[in-house]
């Protein structure tokens, strides 16, 4: 105050940092941070901490002896990262994961959107169908994986029996390498309920007058869907696109249970179902190469970040936020 009086100059707007600090004079700010604290602590200790630890471990020989404290943890330099490029199984696992994700993401989005649009139009019965469509979402993935083996059995499975009724000879879904990933995609699409609910909420948020205006202008149903519905729900579509892509890149439970874990004999392990997360798990907890597994985890993280950044960049041209810019 004194300096203002002596200099005679008008005070400038407070800096962002000063505004942030001044907020702590208010009791509500402390309360807000108290409520946020559990998340911050969880993030620091359960996410950021392990991530930093795994970054360090990826440059070491970390394994059973080091875990138990029998031998010191020693640096191996970039050996594990070089090994990533020399391991044939890494390439195979990445290819499987990408192919699965490329099939699963659009299939899930399309089916979820179709179901959501149907539900948004059927009135009173919507509640019942919403529950029915959502039930698979709460089915434990392990149970779903076991179900996959039963339903998709090439000889006696219900899926092939149903196809036979319409004259189609179904494939050997669970044994033919060409059909293993499609069957896992179908299993993912089956539990589409979560995505469907997001789209349903987004559809309810589309202003009705936009449809009415479009109808007055003579827009067909398809034009209304393309030029009104899609732009208006594009934030929801974009959100699920990113979430599903990340889920696809991290796919583990269903494939592991059906082909590598409890649901299998342990000796089936087809190459076609070897997803990246499964190979990472095996390196860490079956082969005990925890340093290498950490390097694998970082490679997956970098791939996920890169894909997400590309999606965010590209999305700026397609996602419409009400009140914002296209």
């Amino acid at each position: 105050m004194a300096s203002v009086a002596t200099s005679g100059t008008a005070p400038g707007p407070p800096s962002r940092a000063r505004r942030w600090f001044s907020g702590f004079r208010e009791r509500e700010t402390w309360t807000a941070y108290a409520f946020l604290a559990p998340w911050f602590l969880g993030f620091i200790f359960l996410t950021a901490g392990p991530m930093i630890a795994s970054a360090y471990l990826s440059f070491t020989n970390y394994g059973i002896e080091q875990i138990a404290g029998f031998s010191p943890t020693e640096s191996v330099g970039t050996e594990h990262y070089r090994q990533l490029f020399n391991d044939d199984k890494i390439r195979l696992a990445l290819k499987n994961t990408f192919v699965f994700t490329l099939m699963m993401v659009p299939a899930t989005m399309v089916v979820a959107l179709v179901l959501a649009m149907i539900l948004s139009r059927i009135g009173r019965a919507a509640g019942i169908f919403r529950t029915i469509f959502y039930i698979p979402q709460i089915t434990p993935p392990v149970a779903a994986a076991v179900l996959l083996l039963v339903l998709f059995n090439g000889q006696v499975g219900l899926v092939n029996r149903a196809l036979e009724l319409v004259g189609i000879q179904g494939p050997f879904w669970t044994t033919d390498p060409s059909w293993i990933k499609p069957s896992l995609v179908i299993l993912s699409v089956w539990s589409v309920g979560g995505t469907m609910v997001i789209y349903l909420a987004a559809l309810h948020g589309v202003p009705q007058q936009l449809y009415e205006a479009a109808a007055i202008d003579g827009a067909s149903a398809w034009r209304r869907f393309r030029d009104v519905t899609i732009p208006m729900i594009s934030p929801a579509l974009f959100f699920t696109f990113i979430i599903l892509t990340l889920a696809g890149l991290n796919s583990f439970t269903e494939a592991y249970t059906a082909y590598f874990g409890a649901g299998s004999t342990g000796a089936d392990s087809p190459d076609a179902a070897l997803f990246y997360a499964i190979y990472l798990f095996r390196q860490a907890f079956e082969f005990f190469n925890l340093g290498f597994a950490s390097a694998m985890a970082w490679l997956l993280f970098l791939i996920s970040i890169t894909i997400t950044l590309i999606q965010v960049t590209v999305s700026r041209r397609f996602v419409f936020y009400q009140g914002g810019q296209k």
Partner: protein
């Protein structure tokens, strides 16, 4: 307003903390000591912590009681019902909560032994005067690494051929042709035994049980998949390639792996409607425990047990099973040693063998013997306790099983057991799926396995 929120947050925090504490206490109670009650004074002076002993039947529980008694009344045995899990074991090592004794599959011992996570048992064997000659040599071979024994073997599964006489008769195949000595005759028998109706496989002829039993088919030539010291993979030998090509041809006779596996996946080996009872299979090699299951569930089936034979006609059988090991860092290694000695002793096996025999007699069920890694125990149970069931198929099978272990072999312990096994299993799957030739697949497996072994040794 804000004060109220802070009080609410404090209350919620207190509730959460209380729930966490109560959950912790409940968890501690659920992990409570099992096996033996504390000493009469109510205070146990020593505690033996065991990990890895999962589901327990009368035979496991009986020996557990026997071994607990052998430790004396001042010892408490903590033995939660949890099967061995690599992740959980690693977590315990990381937390410094090292069990005194672990129970696990013998084919996992090598991985831990090579990484110094288990103690060699030389001192234990010496101090407790454990006679290692009582254990089957092949079973000991599974737990020996660089000349040291790292576990005491317990149960043993051995492989014999199960032949369905009903199917053989119906297909007009002579029993003499369902054997493994002459591969040409076996293939011809396989083609007659299998049945494909309306494009559907409705009966498997001869299931070679690959990938699991591939080592047995290579042993047909007298060869092993790995050197005796477990340090040199031998996956792409001429013999291994020939064995893989032959066994895959047996499967392809059924119309290919996809059809074969899809049909086999529908089998329930442990129920009354097992594939032998339903005549869905002609013959296959199988682990010895299945006779017990069949005797219980479908004693009427007309099966014949035969040895898996090598190319000279001599019997061979592949061993696998469980064992006891002491992790490095175990607090009470003496107790652990005493306990596993008692668990694998002839006396323990005889006690539970008699108890099971009596129990089954009361229930009107058959007793088909116990098959362990202890030669003397098996002989004692067979000679002193076992009585013929009165069903020729099963009585003959028991006689065969009692003799079988002398022809047993096991896959030598390797420092990268898990990766080694995975390498050859993956190779076989690639061939079965038509992705690679046997030669190319086994060449790749050889590279993968040897790289893993070299890194681990």
């Amino acid at each position: 307003m804000s004060g109220r929120w802070i009080r609410l947050a404090g209350f919620v925090g207190t509730i959460a903390l209380s729930v966490a504490i109560m959950a912790g206490l409940a968890s501690a109670q659920s992990d409570a000591t099992v096996g033996k009650a504390p000493a009469a004074t109510g205070v146990a002076s020593r505690t033996l912590n065991i990990y890895g002993m999962g589901g327990r039947d009368d035979v496991a529980q009986g020996r557990l009681d026997f071994a607990t008694d052998a430790l004396g009344s001042t010892v408490e045995v903590s033995n939660p019902v949890n099967g061995f899990n690599d992740q959980a074991f690693l977590a315990r090592l990381a937390a410094g909560d090292v069990p005194d004794l672990v129970y696990l599959s013998r084919n996992s011992v090598g991985t831990y032994a090579a990484r110094n996570a288990f103690l060699p048992l030389a001192n234990c064997i010496r101090s407790q005067s454990i006679d290692t000659k009582q254990y089957r040599a092949a079973a000991l071979g599974e737990v020996r690494y660089k000349g040291q024994i790292y576990a005491l073997p317990e149960f043993t599964n051995q492989i014999t051929l199960l032949v369905n006489q009903d199917v053989a008769r119906a297909a007009g195949v002579a029993m003499a042709d369902i054997q493994t000595t002459n591969w040409k005759r076996l293939r011809a028998a396989n083609k007659k035994l299998l049945k494909i109706e309306d494009g559907r496989l409705t009966r498997i002829g001869f299931d070679p049980k690959i990938p699991e039993f591939f080592p047995l088919w290579v042993k047909w030539f007298g060869k092993d998949l790995i050197s005796k010291d477990g340090l040199k993979a031998q996956l792409n030998t001429r013999e291994a390639v020939a064995a893989l090509a032959y066994t895959v041809s047996l499967i392809n006779d059924h119309g290919g792996w996809n059809r074969f596996k899809a049909y086999r996946d529908t089998f329930d080996f442990f129920g009354r409607g097992n594939p032998f009872a339903r005549n869905q299979i002609g013959a296959m090699p199988f682990e010895s425990f299945i006779y017990n299951v069949f005797a219980d569930n479908s004693p009427q089936i007309d099966l014949v047990a035969k040895y898996f034979t090598n190319r000279k006609g001599g019997p061979i059988t592949l061993f696998s099973g469980s064992g006891w090991a002491i992790p490095r860092g175990a607090r009470d290694q003496d107790l652990a040693c005493q306990f596993m000695k008692a668990m694998t002793s002839v006396e323990a096996w005889k006690k539970v063998g008699k108890a099971r025999f009596d129990l089954r007699k009361r229930q009107g069920r058959a007793f088909t013997g116990l098959y362990t890694a202890n030669t003397r125990a098996d002989v004692a149970v067979f000679e002193d306790i076992y009585q013929p069931i009165g069903k020729k198929a099963f009585d003959d099978a028991v006689t065969l099983l009692v003799r079988a272990p002398r022809y047993g072999f096991a896959i030598p312990l390797s420092p990268a057991s898990a990766e080694f096994r995975q390498a050859w299993i993956d190779a076989i799957n690639r061939v079965l799926n038509g992705q690679q030739s046997p030669r190319a697949a086994l060449d790749q497996a050889q590279r993968e396995a040897q790289t893993a072994i070299d890194k681990a040794k």
